[in-house]
């Protein structure tokens, strides 16, 4: 008898969202009771924690955890009472991987796609130039799309949520202004744009001309990445991904955007004796 496991395994394999709630602490007879919840519509549940009211409350909580991609232990009474602690229910979310869309098929793109893959993202590389946006140049990406950024986001932007990221690496105003404007219409959690401080200032002015307000500009992480002295494409990819992690966890990390001065210090003068 392995119906519940089979449904769970098949959902995980096909990247369909599913949450497994299980009693891990409580009366002996309740231990190991399981409820599998799939978001709808309509919401589907399989199994039981042993009480209809408890199942109803845990289903609601599991859907909440799943929407946020979170895994947590919660305490309940035997009938789902919120303030009681008779049972500990472990709610594990199996959410589809977060998405990263990288605009611009440049050298930094390959490195960023690699690091993002390691972190578990589903990576799309998008560039309007067919010569550069090829699967052969970006074998690590899940999808390589030849399209204008705003056109692509018009198609997939509604899929983006707080766990997802859009990274604009083109640093060409003709691509990145429409990409950022379109990105700001989505619910994406991280929106970063590459470029020097001069490019960033110039871009801010163009974004304002395009109708972006202060709140919109504040969402854009640019210059992209943490101020860790990254130089190579790979180091820059780490700086970008580290910024995404810090943003998600709410940690106060040194973003380039919030600092001043050159992004790259002059390595030669640094080595000179003072």
């Amino acid at each position: 008898m392995s119906e519940l496991y089979d449904v769970l395994a098949s959902a995980i394999r096909s990247a369909q969202p599913v949450a497994l709630a299980e009693v891990v602490e409580g009366p002996d007879e309740a231990l190991g009771a399981k409820l599998l919840v799939r978001p709808g519509p309509p919401v589907q549940s399989l199994g039981s924690l042993g009480d209809a009211d408890l199942d109803r409350v845990v289903t609601r909580d599991a859907l909440g955890e799943l929407a946020a991609g979170l895994t947590a232990s919660r305490h309940y009474g035997l009938h789902g009472e919120a303030r009681a602690r008779d049972l500990t229910v472990f709610i594990e979310s199996f959410a589809p991987p977060p998405r990263m869309i990288i605009f611009g098929a440049v050298d930094f793109t390959a490195a960023l796609a690699k690091v993002a893959k390691i972190l578990g993202y589903r990576v799309t590389v998008c560039d309007a130039r067919p010569v550069f946006a090829t699967a052969a140049r970006f074998p690590m990406a899940d999808d390589v799309v030849v399209a204008w950024p705003d056109k692509h986001l018009a198609e997939v932007g509604h899929l983006l949520g707080p766990r997802d990221a859009v990274c604009v690496l083109t640093h060409d105003p003709k691509f990145d202004v429409p990409a950022i404007v379109a990105g700001l219409t989505t619910q994406v959690g991280y929106l970063g744009a590459m470029g020097s401080r001069r490019t960033t200032d110039d871009r801010a002015a163009r974004l304002r001309e395009a109708g972006v307000d202060d709140a919109g500009l504040a969402r854009v992480m640019g210059p992209i990445g943490l101020d860790i002295g990254a130089r190579t494409p790979e180091e820059t990819a780490v700086a970008i991904c580290a910024e995404m992690i810090a943003m998600r966890t709410g940690k106060d990390a040194p973003s380039l955007r919030d600092r001043e001065g050159p992004i790259h210090r002059d390595l030669i003068s640094q080595e000179r004796p003072s």
């Binding site: 395994a9 394999r13 190991g32 895994t71 199996f94």
Partner: protein, 105 residues
């Protein structure tokens, strides 16, 4: 969990019983987050991990006990403590709780 599905399928197709161990709580420092999972076949084969290697051996022992003796799920705690009961610990000083159960569901 995803990374252990293939091994679980293979063992089950070979007619072996399987136990699953999942990290359900973490206090203090610890290498793997809740949800980290490990599977153990009745033949003692292992897939996945629940820590940085500190407690896997003890989890295998618990899993085989669950499979071959009790048949019942069990919540195990591993961590640094003055309590002699914690024979196996995490060198990083954290405490993890691992739920071990037979895969009969």
């Amino acid at each position: 969990m995803k990374e252990i599905l293939a091994d679980i399928d293979r063992w089950r197709s070979e007619g072996k019983r399987v136990a699953v161990a999942r990290v359900v709580a973490l206090e203090g420092s610890g290498p793997r987050l809740p949800g980290a999972a490990m599977a153990v076949s009745e033949a003692g084969e292992v897939a996945g991990s629940v820590s940085g290697g500190c407690v896997e051996g003890a989890v295998v022992t618990e899993a085989l006990e669950v499979l071959n003796e009790t048949g019942r799920p069990k919540l195990c705690t591993f961590g640094y403590s003055d309590d002699e009961a914690f024979a196996v610990g995490l060198t990083c000083g954290g405490t993890i709780r691992v739920f071990v159960e037979p895969l009969d569901w």
